[in-house]
């Protein structure tokens, strides 16, 4: 048994558009142990969703294409698997939950059917009845009240939070080893957010499932994950255990992100501290550090050379910066 559940090495996913090649994910490497909860953080367009979709091989192609690197899952390279092997893997060993629960369920099938369908797909020789029972069991687990009756409901009869619970039920129905949640709470209101995160974290632990939580909200990561990856412009700029990210952030971008979070203990009327500027255009060649144009601590070297992801001298904390704090 390999040590790591997931090992992403030098992943490159590019989009070939009329405006040029967009390097959405460029040379990204990281690992996940089984049962680990990893947070992937970054602003829109930083490549976090594309990384996730690359792992489950659902990049829309064309225009997207994984042009380099390897993704080892249980030691096997996912990128070498054919389509049939991938469909075996999806939904059984690797599952994914998406951002918008309102549109992620098929409107013309019952909730129960959509869960049972996954079970039926991946458990050989299971009867329709057994699959349906499993669906009810899963609805119970995600705390849908009166699961037996609600299994016969259609998605439009459920609220957003309940639909996301159903998505979690579908994702976990086959006891996957890895659950990728792409902004699972972004479309939900704050009170529901906390419930869904709690539920997801609890069930992932119960099922022994590793959780990759993609979000732009560092607050979500703080309460849920053990490790954090910060992405910027298709690169990983910092990677560290969650406590270190909050206590001793090393990369100026991470520091900027943390400063831009509104705080409850601030004086009223204090202005937010945004990061000035825009992320770079990924269809252009970026020379030097991609964050250089927005970095408050930029030095001449940053504009010429790209910094590698390196230890900063505090245990497992890594940062791609020449002058980490």
């Amino acid at each position: 048994m390999p040590e790591n559940l997931l090992e992403v090495n030098n992943l490159k996913t590019y989009f070939f558009t009329r405006g040029g090649v967009v390097k959405a994910v460029d040379d990204v490497s990281f690992t996940m142990r089984s049962g680990e909860a990893l947070g992937v953080v970054g602003e829109s367009g930083c490549g976090k969703s594309v990384t996730a979709l690359s792992i489950i091989r659902l990049i829309a192609s064309p225009p997207g294409k994984i042009v380099g690197g390897e993704i080892l899952f249980n030691g096997e390279n996912i990128l070498e698997k054919n389509n049939e092997e991938m469909t075996e893997l999806r939904g059984s060993k690797i599952s994914m939950i998406f951002q918008d629960p309102m549109t992620s369920l098929n409107p013309v099938f019952t909730i129960g059917y959509q869960i049972a369908e996954t079970v039926k797909r991946h458990r050989k020789g299971i009867s329709n009845d057994q699959a349906w029972q499993r669906a009810i069991e899963m609805l119970d687990l995600v705390r849908i009240p009166d699961a037996r009756r609600r299994a016969k409901s259609y998605p439009h009869e459920f609220s957003g939070g309940m639909r996301q619970r159903v998505m979690i039920a579908i994702a976990l129905a086959c006891n996957p080893q890895l659950l990728i949640a792409d902004e699972p709470t972004t479309a939900l209101d704050v009170t529901i957010q906390a419930q869904i995160l709690e539920l997801m974290k609890g069930l992932a632990k119960e099922f022994g499932t590793a959780l990759m939580l993609i979000t732009h909200d560092l607050g979500v990561v703080a309460g849920t994950c053990e490790d954090v990856i910060v992405m910027y412009a298709g690169h990983i700029v910092e990677s560290a255990p969650v406590r270190q990210i909050f206590q001793t952030p090393a990369h100026p971008y991470t520091i900027g992100l943390l400063q831009s979070i509104p705080r409850l203990d601030e004086k009223r009327g204090t202005r937010l501290t945004p990061i000035p500027g825009q992320p770079p255009d990924l269809s252009r060649e970026i020379i030097g550090c991609p964050y250089a144009s927005r970095c408050p601590r930029v030095q001449p070297r940053c504009r010429q050379e790209r910094p590698e992801l390196k230890p900063v001298g505090r245990g497992e904390q890594l940062a791609a910066c020449f002058y980490p704090s």
Binding site: L58, F98, P107, I170
Partner: protein
């Protein structure tokens, strides 16, 4: 459901009143005199007056229209001007089954050719397959139907001359009978009518399918590990067919009573042919009756579509 049907039937009454009123007024004010057309060049003024009275044409227009509605309520379309004394229904009753037969087979062609072509095009969107499909469909759709009919007839004549096959270029055969001779009569008009409509269905299916394939729930279906054919034929198609139901419903009504050109060119004794000849003859009672049939067909088609919706889309309830 029952309540919904009752509402729709009440709606139908108003549609029929509206439609017949417009056709009545247009006929009334249109130049020309049906009795003179009926009598020809030489007639006695007395006979003329008698006939005018017999058909109620000497009454003011509102009384004429009222009489028409009263008769209609008893399912009585009155008497034809042209074939004197023959009830209108007697003229129509032979045409209805013929037109329904033509329409239903054409609908089968729409669905059996149009829908699969649309699906294939959507799945192969923007490849040469799609371009070729949509190119052919665009030609079929854009070509005026009378040109298409005549082209097919010319083709049949050519084949007959070359091979001595003796394939018929016109006429219909026995309605709802399918001996080899009947099939020979019916095949060409059904295909012409069907292909023209199939082109429209193909375009709608393609658009609808492309739209659905972009939806989040299709990505979910893939993320569940479903094989591509389950994603397409189970998850996508069911959603993509919903807009097609509306189109089918609306088309159905028009197809049954609106095949004017095809029926005329192929000399098919259906409602379309009857409508056209009654217009030429200023046979107002017959025009009125075919208009009522058309309105009835369209309303019924829509009603069927609404009922079919509830079977396919759980979000829609009839209330």
């Amino acid at each position: 459901m029952i309540q919904f049907l009752i509402k729709r039937l009440i709606g139908l009454v108003f549609v029929v009143i509206g439609v017949t009123f417009i056709t009545f007024i247009m006929g009334y004010f249109a130049p020309g005199d049906p009795i003179r057309t009926m009598l020809g060049e030489h007639f006695s003024p007395l006979l003329y007056a008698q006939l005018r009275h017999a058909y109620g044409l000497d009454l003011p227009w509102y009384e004429q229209y009222w009489n028409f509605l009263v008769h209609l309520a008893h399912f009585d379309f009155g008497y034809s001007f042209k074939t004197q004394g023959r009830p209108v229904w007697d003229i129509l009753k032979d045409g209805v089954p013929v037109s329904m037969e033509l329409a239903l087979w054409a609908l089968v062609v729409y669905l059996l050719i149009g829908v699969p072509v649309g699906i294939i095009s959507a799945l192969k969107a923007n490849t040469w397959v799609d371009t070729l499909n949509m190119g052919i469909m665009l030609v079929l759709y854009a070509m005026p139907i009378f040109v298409f009919c005549v082209l097919v007839q010319v083709l049949i004549v050519f084949i007959d001359q070359e091979t001595g096959a003796g394939w018929p270029v016109a006429n219909w055969g026995e309605p709802w009978h399918y001996t080899w001779t009947d099939i020979q009569f019916k095949l060409a008009p059904v295909l012409v009518f069907g292909l023209a409509g199939a082109a429209y269905f193909a375009r709608i299916t393609r658009t609808s399918m492309l739209e659905v394939m972009r939806q989040d729930y299709i990505r979910t279906a893939r993320a569940k590990g479903l094989p591509e054919r389950a994603v397409i034929y189970r998850h996508a198609l069911r959603n993509a067919l919903i807009p097609l139901i509306t189109v089918t419903g609306v088309t159905l009504g028009f197809t049954i009573t609106g095949a004017f050109l095809i029926e005329n060119i192929f000399n098919i004794p259906g409602i379309g042919t009857i409508t056209v000849s009654s217009v030429l003859d200023r046979d107002y009672p017959v025009i009125q009756a075919t208009t009522v049939l058309l309105a009835f067909g369209v309303v019924m088609g829509n009603l069927l579509a609404d009922i079919a919706y509830t079977l396919v889309d759980p979000r829609i309830k009839l209330e």
